[in-house]
Symmetry: C2
Subunit: 342 residues, 2 copies
């Protein structure tokens, strides 16, 4: 593990106890089935409602929010309500995404719809979405709360736009690289941008600082997703724990495939369609797709896009006021987002 | 049409132009596919995105909110942001409910999931939910907005609890009348109660007035749903436009069926199970279920429950301060909610 990855694995622990306390108070003591399912999805209990230690996700969004507030004000605590709201929004979208993508696993356990059906998984998401707005109600002043609600609602709309575009792309063969980048800027990066912006808001920083941090978060988020797509095509199985070309096997239309379709000549495009026509492409076919990508320079192109957004993030960081611009942890986070190997 | 029904059909028109203007400004000008689907669901456009006149629902919740504000302050306009939020929440739950219940029709047109799939119907609901919170941001003061956000989030949680219980009931044969009443108090009545409470909040009325109105709305909402269930079993086909025993045909576990199961002796219960065992019960079987209901006094019992909640609503109305207690339109609304024939 490199230095940046070590930091990212340590940072959430710094805030975990505070986050857990506030999150539990927002969810409340309700002991009905829908709250038990929500607690399961949050990684607090098993499917019978018994407490246990489960994977709760990396908490990247709440961590970014708290780190921004701490860097600006010297204290992370004013941003706790916003950080909890961000984790709730993220978990709300995951419950709905699992339904849409028919993903049977979430963080190593059965997804909510797999256990209790599509209807209850929609309900779990709806519950967590509502509670995200509840969480914001504990920010320091009415003015801050009003501004935070506006930001969170706008961010939800962006995430839904991205999710909706992603679904629509499944039925299209002509999605361009630019359309794809716009989609991930909404589906993934908007919430990362909002995380930093809400941290600045809670710290009482001027709106221009919030805007700068949102730019930084947006660039980081896009770089993060491109990196994810790179790992899905070219990740080292020994590090990712997933087979070579995992995304290609699952026929996901990630950036490498779209870039290949755009870069290839007509015979190359035909060959790609043929290779991915099988319901479950075999090793031989995956290998052939990867060779096509080498031939048309796709790996370099995708890496170039990742580098471009990482550079955008570093520029945005440098343009921020002093306590942020030379903040070692922010620089390390950008590093992690853009160079992680798993 | 009786006097109460006439009023209820006229009231929404009083506010329609204002509501439409605010609602459209909250949804904004976005012209992407997900916003087009949302506009379809709201009844603004057809499935190709072309504007037209479609059934947009009765707008009962927004009407109640505006009427409460107007009765208390002499002006409905301060409550417009809350009224729009309520219609958006209602429409958000409808898009998700249609997915959960596999309802192919909504207000006489194909439901969103039927046209564009389950994933996009979830997205439409999520979008409208977020925009409901956006809408509240235009209330008069930050303090009012904060209070309204708290109320709306709590109400969403209640609605989700009710929806989740309703789904869970489908897999159970032992749901009691009390459990059912608790379910509809959340799924249906909580939002009616919140509509009146938000109207009071927007009018600047003291919290006790809001509490009293919420009690009134809760009782009205329960009476409304019981009435709905009565119409589904005993409604006059000539008035409802639906076949006799519509809910029974669809094997919905509404109040009459649950009350019958609870009131019947063992042979009666066995007979009921047998009659409803067919995938699509025939006229003869529906008639036999209705006869069982007569034999065990179910119609009187259900009417008694409806009367009880209507009386609760009238008591709550009478306990409110003067401009409300003797408000002829509120009294007429209670009448409509509890006596409507379609």
């Amino acid at each position: 593990m490199n230095e940046a990855a070590a930091l990212v694995s340590e940072l959430p622990a710094r805030y975990a106890a505070d986050l857990d306390r506030v999150l539990r108070s927002v969810i409340g003591e309700h002991d009905d089935p829908i709250h038990r399912m929500a607690r399961y999805h949050l990684g607090w209990v098993d499917e019978h409602g018994d407490p246990g230690q489960f994977n709760r996700g990396k908490g990247l969004r709440s961590t970014l929010c708290l780190l921004a507030c701490e860097a600006l004000s010297g204290d992370h605590r004013p941003a706790l309500p916003a950080a909890v709201a961000l984790d709730l929004i993220h978990n709300f979208t995951l419950s709905h995404d699992d339904v849409m993508d028919r993903d049977v696993l979430r963080r190593g356990r059965a997804s909510v719809w797999k256990l209790w059906g599509v209807a209850q998984a929609i309900n779990v998401g709806d519950l967590l979405c509502a509670r995200a707005f509840t969480a914001l109600g504990d920010l320091a002043s009415p003015e801050t709360i009003v501004a935070a609600h506006r930001m969170l609602a706008d961010t939800c709309v962006a995430v839904v736009q991205g999710q909706s575009a992603d679904i629509a792309f499944e039925g299209r063969e002509d999605v361009s690289v630019d359309e794809y980048l716009d989609m991930i800027s909404r589906k993934t990066a908007a919430l990362i941008g909002a995380s930093l912006r809400l941290g600045a808001l809670a710290a009482g920083a001027p709106p221009t600082t919030g805007d700068g941090l949102a730019d930084l978060g947006l660039a980081m988020g896009i770089a993060f997703q491109i990196r994810d797509d790179m790992l899905g095509a070219w990740g080292d199985p020994a590090v990712t724990g997933k087979p070579v070309g995992q995304d290609l096997r699952r026929k996901k239309k990630t950036l490498p495939v779209l870039a290949l379709r755009q870069a290839a000549d007509a015979p190359g495009r035909a060959r790609l369609a043929e290779l991915l026509a099988a319901d479950e492409p075999a090793d031989r076919q995956i290998q052939a797709v990867l060779e096509l990508m080498e031939r048309f320079g796709v790996r370099e192109q995708v890496r170039g896009l990742a580098d471009e957004h990482a550079a955008r993030a570093r520029t945005a960081l440098g343009a921020l006021p002093a306590p942020l611009a030379d903040h070692p942890e922010f620089a390390a986070l950008i590093d992690y987002f853009t160079t992680r190997r798993a």
